[in-house]
Structure formats: structure tokens, C-alpha cells
């Protein structure tokens, strides 16, 4: 069960795995996530569904080794199994409900930060296949952390790579690239940003200057992922929402990012004070 049929090391710390989970693969839609446990003692770790193959009955996930749990996931080998994989969880991207002729009129810009490239991929692919215009801004610290470049190139019209140190593509932040593209009059009708909370916060400020509609995908802490615990609560539009069932995607302009960042660090901060190992939430 949940066998890893393919493992690919994308960068020294980022690993891609294709995992057998037939029912999940059949039901998955862009925007949704799943939860894995590496072994019997393992944490339930939410990961975005990066791709799915309904015929083969597999889903693809991408994990960055940051804390104990994500390192454990990355250490699993091809042929080995996850103890648990459950999903798809959360709401699909709201745009999958649009009729094809509406989608063809849309012009998307996806802003992917670091591991956020993985969840952007299935959406870019889906909307590109449906005939929408799709541009992708892909940001990473440095060239060696740029992942899925070739795959992404194949599913978008323009791919703009940005690195903090200039080791690849544009030197600078994704927000600067977005400003530049907007200034060129790209005429995007919809932006989607997925990446670290802090990046999504600043993309929201930038997109706001251009009144560009923006959706973000929130990588909150989670336990069950089914609405049972409330660990994933976020304030959106002044209301408390459970990201695992009502999200993970929300209208960026309504999200309380400062609260979300603070809550995301709840266990991290306390553990570090107590000199424990860092345990991450959603592995992006």
C-alpha cells in the first residue's frame, strides 16, 4: 500500500515522489492536498498534491527536508511504502468549476515561491490544457533550489525565474518581477500565489497596487485535515475558517497573514525555546 514507485531528488533538500494511492488519484483536483505519515510514530504531514495520474493510480508529492518529519519522508526509498496517505483534502481551486469557454478567456499569473512550485504545477497544467493563458513566476533563493523547471516550462506560456542571489534568471524577489510584468501591461485577469506565508503576504501587497484578483493557498498547521481539530484555523474576511476544509485557497485580500504566520510558528517557537527539534507544519 502507498508504495513509492518513483523517487527523484530535485535538489539537495527537495525530493519528489510518485506514490500509489488509486482512489486518491482518481478523486484529486488541482488545489487539493493530502496527508502522509512516514511510519507508525510519524506525524501527520500535509503536502500539496503536485500531480496525479488517474490511469496509473498514483499521486506525486514534493517534500522539502526541514524538520524531523519531513527529513524522514525524504529518506524513504523507491519501493518502500508510506504507512498512511489520505486525501484528497480541502477544496479544489475555485476555477476548476468554470466552464471551458470562460477559462479560455482567462489570463493567469502564478507566483510560486520555493517549494510552492510543486502545488502551482498541477494548476498551471490544468488551466494551460484548458486553453487559458498561463504565465508563471518562479522564485527561489538560488539556482540549485529551482525545481520542476522543465515540467513547468511545458505547461505555461512564459516562465520567469527569479533568484535572490541572481544565480539564475532575474535577480530579485517575485514581487519585483510581478511589478515589472504588470507595468508592461500584461493584462492578467487572475493571480495565484503559493509559497511561504511571508511571500504570499508581500505578493498580496504588490497585486493590490494593480487591483489584480489574487488567490493564495495557506499552509497552516494541521492535524487531521478533516475539520475535527481546528489547528488550521485562520482569519479570513474577519471570520474564523478551517483551512483544511474551507481552504486551503482563499481570497488573498481577506487573509490575516500576520496571525497566520504567528500561528504557523506555534510549535516551532516554543520548541526552540525548549531546545527541541523543530517540527514543521505543512511541508513546503
Amino acid at each position: 500500500m502507498y508504495r513509492i514507485v518513483r523517487k527523484e531528488v530535485l535538489s539537495p533538500v527537495i525530493t519528489l515522489m510518485e506514490v500509489e494511492a488509486p482512489r486518491l488519484a482518481r478523486a484529486a483536483q488541482p488545489g487539493q492536498f493530502l496527508i502522509v505519515r512516514a511510519d507508525e510514530e510519524g506525524e501527520r504531514i500535509p503536502l500539496t498534491i503536485c500531480d496525479y495520474n488517474r490511469e496509473k493510480g498514483t499521486v506525486t508529492i514534493v517534500t522539502q527536508a526541514i524538520g524531523a518529519s519531513s527529513k524522514e519522508i525524504c529518506a524513504l526509498q523507491e519501493g518502500e511504502c508510506f504507512t498512511d496517505v489520505v486525501g484528497p483534502l480541502g477544496q479544489p481551486s475555485e476555477f476548476v468549476n468554470l466552464p471551458d469557454e470562460e477559462l479560455r478567456k482567462m489570463s493567469f499569473v502564478f507566483i510560486a515561491g520555493g517549494l510552492g512550485t510543486a502545488p502551482v504545477y498541477p494548476q498551471a497544467k490544468y488551466f494551460h490544457e484548458k486553453g487559458a493563458k498561463v504565465d508563471v513566476i518562479l522564485g527561489a533563493k538560488s539556482a540549485d533550489l529551482v525545481i520542476l523547471e522543465k515540467e513547468m516550462e511545458a505547461v505555461c506560456d512564459n516562465l520567469y525565474i527569479c533568484t535572490d542571489d541572481g544565480s539564475k534568471g532575474f535577480k530579485g524577489l517575485v514581487t519585483a518581477k510581478l511589478e515589472e510584468l504588470m507595468a508592461q501591461g500584461k493584462g492578467y485577469t487572475q493571480a495565484v500565489a503559493i509559497g511561504p506565508m511571508i511571500m504570499m503576504k508581500f505578493v498580496t501587497l504588490t497585486a493590490g497596487k494593480f487591483n489584480l484578483p489574487l488567490v493564495v493557498s495557506l499552509n497552516t498547521l494541521m492535524v487531521d485535515g478533516t475539520g475535527m481539530c481546528g489547528a488550521c484555523r485562520v482569519t479570513v474576511g474577519g471570520k474564523v475558517r478551517f483551512a483544511c476544509v474551507e481552504g486551503p485557497e482563499f481570497n488573498a485580500y481577506e487573509v490575516d497573514f500576520d496571525e497566520a504566520m504567528r500561528r504557523q510558528a506555534m510549535y516551532r517557537g516554543k520548541e526552540m525555546e525548549e531546545d527541541h527539534k523543530c517540527k514543521i507544519g505543512r511541508g513546503r
Binding site: L24, E41, E43, S69, D84, D224, T226, M228, G230
Partner: protein, 462 residues
């Protein structure tokens, strides 16, 4: 004669010691103690205890068997009406059911029916006594959603009737609240819960974990794609409620479900488990039900100083009397007639205190219940670095939202008849998913009724 024997006390772990471990509090009766206690029963002609039992366990009959030392027969008698006696003996609110009506309680103490039930169930498990007569397979397939008491009871009855049953569970482990909610010190997971689940599996029931119905599979998929002939929904009432007061999203505020799930399902209390839990030094638990007691006593065992804040008085505490008693023995503080109005935090967004107001009980309303009303200008702060919200739960709407024709009531439960038939043909439901948060025994009873209704339905369907 019976009247002269005082109720036989049950051995328990010492409060000081158990406040530091997760082992079961109650140690149960020995054979001799059980037989002695059983002899107190008057074997009433019209047993009030039985009438008060939600599933009408033949109480005086099984107690007579215990008195005679025929524990296997006692187990057989209980098994006619209850499929989870080791669990119900531990977690039923006996003081408002069987024991609350026992005639012995009028002048003295009621017969310890719960402890006797537990004794019999533990004895029969330890001695491998099972009542698993199963009918030959009839080739019909039933899907059961949820592996809590309602799902387990429904599945085992159907399996005994010859149905091919598969339980689909969203979490990675079966048992529902018995596994993720009720702590080890009240309901041992390996010896009791896992053993119950094993015995359901031994009847041929398959359990598939990691299937969220409505996401991984829909009920329509179950009929159209997976070849099931009927479905039972026993998905419980898992959605935690919050108070909607300022500061509820501060760091350090968690639902009791989250706190208990981290500890029970994810075993955060154990060395080697990787799920974190944050306990702090001073914990405030808001609420007065079993969930609140479980959260409070778990936090205590993890090393915190714990206060339970409840807006009515001790008399109204909905928790089992035994749990409140145990909590007090262990050193949990109770602040009654106290209602939180705000959670106060520091500049980094962590909880520092719970701001409360004093309450008093108002005039009785039409139902005779006295509602608490706030005392003017009575605000005060209770210091806390963790606040656990145990305000109750409601049914998860996911299954209803993804199943055409399945209606919900205004309170959020599935609409179902007494027998468990929902508004969708071939779909039955019971337990907390229908009633909202209730009890294990009611959920078990509902699961069994639905099993009978499913049998009726499938026999008559051509």
C-alpha cells in the same frame, strides 16, 4: 441480606501517583469482589435499572450469573443487548442511567452495575469467551462510514447476519472517539479498544483507514463503482465549537479535540512519538463535559497546573460524576459560575490570561432549567498560558454536502428515522452523526438498530 453489604469499593490507582501517568485509573474488581457486589442486587421483579438502560441490558440476570460465579453466562447475557460492554462499563454515565434508577440507591448506594459489566467484559476477553455465531455469507455488501461505536456495532451485527461489511475510516486508526478522544487512563487503547476492534475484524469485517468519504470516495461511488448495496453513516460529531470571543486565535488556544488528538491518537505523551503538544504551565479548560474533564486530566498528567472554568454550578456539570470526582482527587481546580469573555495575549501573540465574568443562576425557565446570567462589573483575569476550549462538537457536514438527497436537520445532524433510515434510499445513519454529540451507548444502540433496518431493507429489495 443484600441490604447489609455495603457497596464494594473498586481499587484505583492512588491520585498522587496516577496524576503523573497515563495508566488506567480504575483497576476493576477481582472475582471475589465482583461476586460480593453482585450479591447486593435484589433481583427486582420489575427492574428499574433495565428500564433506564438505553439498550435494555438484562441487568439483574447478568448480575445473578455473576453472583453464582458463572461469568461466562453473565457475558452471554450482556452480549444479547450490548456489543461493547468493556467500553460501556467504563464510560457510560451510569449515575443517570442504570445505577441512577437502582432501588438500592434510594436508601443507600446503588449496585455497581457499571463496574460489574466491566468486570464481566474484561473477564470474558481475558478468557477468550466470544459469542460470534455468524450466518453463512449472503453475498450482499454493506459499507459502514466511521469506525466509532455506532459503526463498529452496526458492522458486527451485519457481519453476524452474513453480510460482507467494509468500514471506511477517515483517520489512520479505527475507533472514532474511543481512539482519538477518550484518554488511555479512562479507556486503555491496546487492551480494551484494540481488542474490541480485533473482535469485529474476526467476524470478517474489513476496515479501510485513510478514506475520507466525500473526498476520497463519495456515497455515490460506493453504490456505483464499489458495488455496495447499502451504506451506514456513523461519522460522529467531530467539529469543535469555539466561543467566538476575542483572542481565540492566539497561540496557546486549542480545541479539546486538537489537544486530545495530539495526545491520544498521535501519542504525543510517549517517548519517540513525533507529534508535538504544547502544554504550558497553567492551563485553563473551558467547559464542563466529559471532553473538558479528559482534556484537563490529560494536561495535568503532562505536568501543568489545571483549572476548569464552567459557567453553571457543579450540579449542572454534564460530565460523568466519577470523572469529576477523579479530577478533583487529582488536584484539578474548578471555577464554577465563571464565563470567559476574552482571551488576553502578550505582544508576541501568546495567551497570558483568560478574562472572565462571574455568573449567577437566574430564574428557572419553562423547562425548569436555571440559566446562568452575568453579574454586572464582575470581570477578572485567570492567568493561563494555554486555554483549551471544550464547548462541544457538531456533526461534520462533508458527507451530507457530497451526497445528493441526504438531508440535514437545522442543528446539523443527518435526518433519520428511529430505525436509522435517512432521506436517501439505501443510506442509513446513527450515533452522533444524527443526534449530535451524545454517548457511546446511544451510538452503539443506534448502530445496532440500523443494522436490523439494513437487513430488512436488503431482504425486501429485489
Amino acid at each position: 441480606m443484600a441490604g447489609r453489604i455495603p457497596r464494594v469499593p473498586v481499587r484505583e490507582q492512588d491520585p498522587q501517583i496516577r496524576a503523573r501517568n497515563f495508566k488506567e485509573v480504575c483497576l476493576g474488581y477481582t472475582d471475589e469482589e465482583a461476586m460480593l457486589e453482585a450479591r447486593r442486587c435484589l433481583n427486582c421483579k420489575r427492574p428499574a435499572c433495565m428500564t433506564a438502560c438505553p439498550v435494555s441490558v438484562k441487568i439483574p440476570f447478568f448480575i445473578q450469573a455473576v453472583a453464582k460465579g458463572d461469568f461466562a453466562d453473565a457475558a452471554r447475557i450482556i452480549s444479547i443487548d450490548s456489543s461493547l460492554p468493556a467500553i460501556c462499563g467504563r464510560v457510560c454515565p451510569q449515575e443517570c442511567q442504570c445505577e441512577g434508577s437502582c432501588v438500592m440507591g434510594v436508601k443507600g448506594e446503588p449496585v455497581a452495575i457499571g463496574k460489574l459489566e466491566r468486570f464481566v467484559a474484561d473477564w470474558s476477553r481475558e478468557n477468550n469467551v466470544a459469542f460470534n455465531a455468524t450466518a453463512p455469507s449472503n453475498g450482499k455488501r454493506v459499507a459502514v462510514i466511521g469506525s466509532g461505536p455506532s459503526g463498529l456495532a452496526c458492522a458486527s451485527d451485519l457481519a453476524k447476519m452474513g453480510y460482507d461489511v467494509t468500514i471506511f475510516e477517515a483517520l489512520h486508526k479505527a475507533g472514532g472517539v474511543l481512539t482519538y478522544g477518550i484518554p488511555e487512563f479512562r479507556l486503555p487503547k491496546d487492551t480494551v479498544v484494540a481488542a474490541e476492534i480485533e473482535s469485529v475484524k474476526r467476524l470478517g469485517v474489513k476496515i479501510e483507514t485513510n478514506v475520507v468519504v466525500g473526498r476520497t470516495l463519495t456515497i455515490d461511488d460506493m453504490f456505483d463503482r464499489e458495488g455496495f448495496h447499502a451504506v451506514f453513516v456513523g461519522s460522529g460529531a467531530g467539529l469543535p465549537k469555539f466561543m467566538d470571543i476575542p483572542g481565540e486565535n492566539l497561540n496557546g488556544v486549542v480545541s479539546a479535540n486538537e489537544f486530545l488528538t495530539r495526545n491520544n491518537l498521535m501519542k504525543a505523551y510517549k517517548e519517540g512519538a513525533r507529534t508535538p503538544i504544547y502544554v504550558g504551565n497553567k492551563v485553563c479548560v473551558v467547559g464542563g463535559g466529559n471532553v473538558a474533564m479528559d482534556a484537563a486530566r490529560t494536561a495535568l498528567r503532562l505536568g501543568a497546573q489545571v483549572t476548569v472554568v464552567y459557567r453553571r454550578t457543579e450540579k449542572e456539570l454534564p460530565a460523568r460524576a466519577e470523572e469529576v470526582h477523579h479530577a478533583k482527587e487529582e488536584g484539578i481546580e474548578f471555577m464554577m459560575l465563571t464565563n470567559p469573555v476574552e482571551i488576553v495575549g502578550d505582544e508576541k501573540g501568546w495567551v497570558t490570561a483568560l478574562k472572565c465574568e462571574k455568573m449567577e443562576l437566574g430564574e428557572p425557565d419553562a423547562s425548569g432549567r436555571r440559566s446562568p446570567v452575568a453579574v454586572a462589573d464582575s470581570h477578572f483575569n485567570v492567568e493561563a498560558d494555554v486555554v483549551i476550549m471544550a464547548l462541544g462538537t457538531s456533526p461534520n457536514p462533508l458527507i451530507a454536502q457530497t451526497t445528493p438527497g441526504l438531508e440535514r436537520s437545522r442543528k446539523g445532524g443527518l435526518v433519520a428515522t428511529e430505525e436509522g433510515a435517512t432521506t436517501r434510499e439505501g443510506v442509513f445513519a446513527g450515533g452522533d452523526a444524527v443526534t449530535g454529540a451524545a454517548t457511546v451507548i446511544l451510538a452503539m444502540g443506534a448502530g445496532r438498530k440500523a443494522a436490523a433496518a439494513i437487513d430488512e431493507y436488503l431482504k425486501n429489495k429485489k
